[in-house]
Symmetry: C3
Subunit: 265 residues, 3 copies
Amino acid sequence: MPDPIITLTTDFGEDSPYVAAMKGVILGINPHARLVDLSHQIPPQHLQHAAFFVATALPAFPPGIIHLVVVDPGVGSDRALLCVELDGQRLLVPDNGCWTEWARRSTGQPAVHCVAEPRYWRQPVSATFHGRDILAPAAGWLSLGIDPAALGPPAADWVHLNMPAPERDPDGWTGEVVFVDRFGNLITNIPGDAITDSSNAHAQVAVGLHMVAQRVRTYAEAARGTTVALIGSTGMLEIAVVQGNAARSLQAASGTPVTVRSAND
Amino acid sequence: MPDPIITLTTDFGEDSPYVAAMKGVILGINPHARLVDLSHQIPPQHLQHAAFFVATALPAFPPGIIHLVVVDPGVGSDRALLCVELDGQRLLVPDNGCWTEWARRSTGQPAVHCVAEPRYWRQPVSATFHGRDILAPAAGWLSLGIDPAALGPPAADWVHLNMPAPERDPDGWTGEVVFVDRFGNLITNIPGDAITDSSNAHAQVAVGLHMVAQRVRTYAEAARGTTVALIGSTGMLEIAVVQGNAARSLQAASGTPVTVRSAND
Amino acid sequence: MPDPIITLTTDFGEDSPYVAAMKGVILGINPHARLVDLSHQIPPQHLQHAAFFVATALPAFPPGIIHLVVVDPGVGSDRALLCVELDGQRLLVPDNGCWTEWARRSTGQPAVHCVAEPRYWRQPVSATFHGRDILAPAAGWLSLGIDPAALGPPAADWVHLNMPAPERDPDGWTGEVVFVDRFGNLITNIPGDAITDSSNAHAQVAVGLHMVAQRVRTYAEAARGTTVALIGSTGMLEIAVVQGNAARSLQAASGTPVTVRSAND
């Protein structure tokens, strides 16, 4: 049996001692835990970014992993804290919906418990850092083998975060950019097959007012500087500028409209 | 017995190969060592930031951990290198005082040795990177079980870093912002009970020239945009703007004066 | 036997889910793998930076480590993917030359295989993320003990990345800045002994049009603000401003010319 793995995803950045404190708390409960950083650069309190991150990253992990995801604009309110089991993975998270897109894309059914049993909390519990005082200890205890049901009662309901949904009509798709990566590639919420199914063999793709020049299978198929549409690594329609930065060239960002239009007239 | 844990905290940033080199050196000495990054984003050579980080993060860790903290503006001078034992943890650090605030807040007594025994150094020792050539190897050897006394003689004295101290007078407290986190929250050096003890039930808090509107237990208690004072997760007085950025709104930074004044006349 | 170590170096940054996905894939293949981040802040698609990073960082590691280095401007082209064995370490990397400077500085001979055997790939293989779908799985399988030869046939040739080479003439050296660290120190491609061998006892060092004031063994030997030349931690000539930032003061960056001139007339 390998030692248990706990991943950490936060919007804390890396100059503050907040991430370090969570790691210390986990190791104090289970010194065998193996800590794996996923990101501490989620934009501050940006739940949609966190939801995209979780929905994209977690399916790559095997069962048995414990994930701690702390983006928590509601800390100190009466929002619940949750332990979500899905596809054999366990997620500790404030009840803010940043995991529901992941669940929506899964074929599994989530089992959700509240993290509400003070015996597993760090004392005293601060009013502003439940990541350190409640969720990190819960991760430590889960990694020691306690059952999620020991953390608190089943949750009857939870916040659903609505991700922007693309619309399909007879002429094609209307969606938007949902993520811009470090290379300036624009990841959209339109399924990749929007540009590959036979009925759309001549579809035209636009980002805002910019027409996309070429449809490719991969960046390398077009000349440097060309704006291309392709199926990205997440299976979604992606817009890139070959060896360039599409976000900059097309002045696009999260939320910029993207359309796929049939051109068979 | 879990494999030994060595944490790393530096001001090296993450684009240079310096952190990687230290990790390689440690693993070359003890391939069983488990490396845990705390931060590599301490502002360059900023000892007060490092001291705040160490004093805040380390108390969350259990005994038995080895911490390597390399913020080293004096590298190549005759400043000593130290192995500090406190509260069952061991810290390898240049003698620059960035750990003395941690020690001041602890009830324990530090045992301090010089790291001066060349048999445990990486050879040749560079003149500019003692983190890689002296401290990282020392961490590796400690994790293998050698005694701190093997690294060098007891240190008779060491640098004390003076953190800005708040002042208390009959009217209240005068302190300053000592850390701004990624959310723009202002962490001060004034104890949190300055705003909770009964004699100060109506105390007024000011940051620079800005009066703080409301005293709360947690961010969620006031309306969006309100400037609030609360006891932060470190137990100190903290100033925040609800769902906003206090540093930006109040034009505050580390060093900005903060006052708590009684208003009972 | 310690659990196998896999290091990760990318230009993905830390807000995207790309690094996380690679970690998930590795742990899905070998849940015992120990993941060690080296950097995810290589400037986007900057092969020379990656080459400097690899050549500087990897020699600090012991044999037996598996390194995954994904800076991949050619993803989706017909560029090969490689498994390089050198000095007992194994490197998984697109065939873009970012490892050849490391090999040039080593006395060992690299053994190179193509990563071409689909049975070890993640399916389906995306057209744009071979780091996740081919190289990360290869790292996982190597860490389980398969032989590099199982990944694909020996590579007959590979891309060599030419790093800027310094020139030596009877009067001294002409080279350039190859890396600027977070402190603004300028690491050059001129060997450190250019300023220490006896024939150059009075050599003058210049960065662009700026003469370097003083030659030192370490930063601490000169007064604050002095521009100094020294042998840096990598053995190369380095230019620094004591307690300052040489890149800013001298308006220097990667590529800025550096000269060492004899002054014995």
